[in-house]
Amino acid sequence: VARTSLSSPPWPEVPKLPDPVEEAKYHAAEVVQKVNGMISAGQYGRLFAVVHFASKQWKITSEDLIMMDNVLEAECGDRIRLEKVLLVGADDFTLIGRPLLGKDLVRVEATVIEKTESWPKINMRFWKRHNYQRKTIIRNPQTVLRINTIEIYPCLS
């Protein structure tokens, strides 16, 4: 058939996707087992995780510091487990959660280091020619956490 402007539909040609049944078999057999083997053998270097905490998402590794702009109801020196892990990755594999990963799969531990106030921030409102100016000094409570460890367990299925 000669290729004219109307000989084929205007939308782009979609390549044929692999059969879902076969793909699920391949995934379960090869990919999952390979990743499980790598995890149980310990063939990963430094792990990083994306954690949802204090209404923010953080990309964290072990031994790094996190500062939240609010109060945490835990004393200094308490060990805390961060649930709500969205993604865990190493050099060769990543585990993407939809949207969260299971609690029996990842374990992220952190310690509360200090609870302070922020530097005094100045809020100033000023209208010109109206003799209106207001100045407030705001100090927000802050908490600093140190991420101790990120561990993964070979419980993929």
Partner: protein, 149 residues
């Protein structure tokens, strides 16, 4: 003696005028020109600086979000996807990563970003297939596509 009002030769005089002015001048020390030294000029400049910093704190959020979007767009174009396609397909695949984290992954974890782009591309094609359905035209419709038999 008890007096009803104080004597006129007892005045209360301001003694810490220097320190009151220093409280304002300390915020103006890094300014340019006479407004880092002279109080009358510094008061106006410091007031404008405070007002601008309060407004900027609200705009910083918009600015940073635009920056993340630019970076994610650049990274996804390297993998052959446009930004709206990337984000919409990630959301449809129930991956709830925000733009800040996606930009950080694009910078520091390129392999992870490539896998996310592949996930979005696969979901996009599955969406196209689902929209096309059987590939047959509905009955009773005269289509402009030419068929040569």
């Amino acid at each position: 003696m008890v007096l009803l009002s104080t004597a006129r030769w007892l005045r209360s005089r301001l003694t810490d005028r220097f320190w009151r002015k220093q409280e304002v001048l300390k915020y103006a020390r890094h300014f340019r020109g006479r407004k880092n030294r002279c109080y009358k000029l510094a008061v106006r400049s410091v007031r404008r600086a405070f007002v601008r910093s309060t407004k900027a704190r609200r705009e910083k959020k918009r600015f940073l979000r635009a920056l993340w979007i630019t970076r994610i767009e650049a990274a996804s174009l390297e993998h052959g996807l446009k930004y709206p396609a990337f984000i919409s397909n990630l959301v449809k695949s129930q991956v709830e990563l925000n733009r800040k984290v996606l930009a950080d992954l694009a910078i520091y974890e390129p392999k992870t970003f490539k896998s996310l782009a592949a996930l979005a591309q696969r979901r996009r094609q599955e969406g196209f297939l689902a929209a096309l359905g059987d590939g047959k035209e509905p009955e009773g419709i005269f289509s402009r596509i030419v068929h040569h038999y």
